[in-house]
């Protein structure tokens, strides 16, 4: 408990320092609970998520960093490896491939990489996975783009 708190505090200070360094990621610690974080990440360019801003919720276990944090999308996203309803993410480093040397910041980076490179073979969102697997890239992209516009872009006017 103390170890995880100390480690999170270090990450917190690092984030404060690096805020400008990575303009695509904005990590925010909950005001009253250092084990709850949120992040805003920018959709990577040249993907259907470009232009969108996606919110992630982190729940950090007491055994952190020996155990991985739990992360999910709060913003709706159409992606084969993200559950459309719950926002749950299927990503190996959040499960068996976790390493205690990862940080919340590096998890965000891994999620951005996942947005750019979906893994249609382990889908949490079957509709989206099937579109990609059947080779209908255009169909997938238009759906993903539509949801980006609907859910991840600031409302105009």
């Amino acid at each position: 408990m103390q170890a995880s708190r100390a480690r999170l505090f270090k990450e917190y200070k690092e984030v404060q320092r690096e805020k400008v360094a990575d303009p695509d990621i904005q990590l925010v610690c909950d005001d009253s609970n250092i084990f709850k974080w949120t992040a805003l990440i920018k959709g990577p360019s040249e993907t259907p998520y470009e232009g969108g801003v996606f919110q992630l919720a982190f729940s950090v276990p007491e055994q952190y960093p020996l155990q991985p944090p739990q992360v999910r999308f709060l913003t709706k996203i159409f992606h084969p490896n993200v559950h459309f309803k719950t926002g749950e993410i299927c990503l190996d480093i959040l499960k068996n491939a976790w390493s205690p040397a990862w940080t919340l910041q590096s998890v965000c980076r891994a999620i951005i990489a996942l947005m750019a490179h979906p893994e249609p073979d382990s889908p949490l969102n079957c509709d989206s996975g099937n579109l990609l697997r059947s080779g209908d890239v255009r169909g997938f992209q238009s759906m993903a783009k539509m949801y980006t516009r609907l859910a991840a872009m600031p409302k105009k006017g």
Partner: protein, 590 residues
Amino acid sequence: MDSEDDMHDANDVESVDDGFYSGETAMDSDDGDAADYDFIDNDSDDSDDPISHRSQQNYTILNEDDIHLRQEDNIKKISSILSISNNAAAILLRHYNWSVSKVNDEWFANEEKVRRIVGLLEEPRALPSGKELTCGICFDVYPCDSMSSAACGHPFCVTCWQGYISTAINDGPGCLMLRCPDPSCSAAIGQDMIIALASHDDREKYERYFLRSFVEDNRKTKWCPAPGCDYAVDFIVGGGTFDVNCRCSYSFCWNCTEEAHRPVDCDTVSKWIRKNSAESENMNWILANSKPCPKCKRPIEKNQGCMHITCTPPCKFEFCWLCLGAWSDHGERTGGFYACNRYDAAKKEGAYDDTEKRREMAKNSLERYTHFYERWATNQSSRQKALADLQQMQNIHLEKLSDKQCQPESQLKFITEAWLQIVECRRVLKWTYAYGYYLPAHEHAKRQLFEYLQGEAESGLERLHQCAEKELSGYLNIDGPSKDFNEFRMKLAGLTSVTRNYFENLVRALENGLSDVDAHGGTSRTGGSRGLGAGSSKSRGGSSSSRNKGTAPTARSRNIDDSGHWSCEYCTFANAKSATVCQMCQQLRS
């Protein structure tokens, strides 16, 4: 002389030398065609161990120490061949599923590639230089000497290492392939580091996984599947059977790890098991341990292994557990001592309540399945019972018997052997019912031969079981030594050996797919024909007209003539009235 009791005579056992039943004695018989009816390769050694006297053993049973030794041995071997540390050798062996030759081949084919895959660095790197270092997990800064690293030099503090290792160990056997915590690094973490840093409990867990891996990831070894058994088995595939007799006394099939199932093959076993679970609901009522007495309808519990049931007083009706027929009918009139292995016969005897219920309940196919399943399951529970009896015999009765009969316990070994044989026979018999279920219906000759052999097996085993169970109890519950105890010894030992031979022959015959059936051709059964024929035992008395003159085999054989069958001149096979050609040997009816 043709009553069943005569057969219980010890001397008579010796004379029951029809080829199928006694193996080698048939060879010595002066009856001309005796050799023809003998089985192939009869083992003529009466070794002391009734179960494991089959072909040589192609496996080794290992206890925990043996496993340790072998594991250490393999590690040392690889370490010296490749000139690497024991740690590195263990990592390599684990990665290649403990195959020394595979490690060898891969390593010498492409050492660099192997090193990369398993995470063994050629040149270990030291910690980065500097007085203080930042731990890659807690991000705290420590003096250099309180940090450590794997061969890659990525520094982590001791507390973080301990947490990392402990988490991995408690996550399961994956801890055997632990890598450096740095995500960009795949350096393997050796056993020495884990052992040095893990807590006492975690170390024990780790060592357990390490040992288990040697058995479970190794293609040559498996744990004995018996619950609670800690022995492992090292098996050399190729030649011989898959049967393994563990030191815990459980026997299982190496290939499918189901209970030993000779003479049926693994596919049949898995088909049968699937079938059973699909039908299990229908079968529940059959499995019930009690049935109504066919005479007085009171529920009778089967508490002895043998199928001969006597209802409680005052009824005392004696009946057969399998077909619920009167025991007195189980003689020649029903076509043999034990006709109830025959599905058709059981159907004909359908006058019994239980059979009727069964008919109402089941369609034809289920009824057929029920027939085989019930007999399969009954033999299974008889086997369990026999195992329990064997234990009780060894733990309690032998000592008592030794006192009562003034016999040293060492001379009562024949009783244990008899019970071991019963247990083994029940197992074989059980699987013959799965065999029978899958034997194609249109193969009439095979079916008939099969049923005949199985019937003989049932009755032979019943005789042995009766003798070891009921007759023995007479000598247990007596005040002084019995004069005829030696006769009993001879009889039981004789029955054990005769039954053992019979069952070994039966297993071989079934494993060969009863192939000799088709080979009989049209000519008479002489020369090379190996006399698996159903006629074998009948023909002992039956080759001449003396069939019914009361030799022991005749008393046991099925005198089917009464029911309108005709018996073949050549092989004595009992054919249906309508048949003009013998179904067994294709000879014309004369």
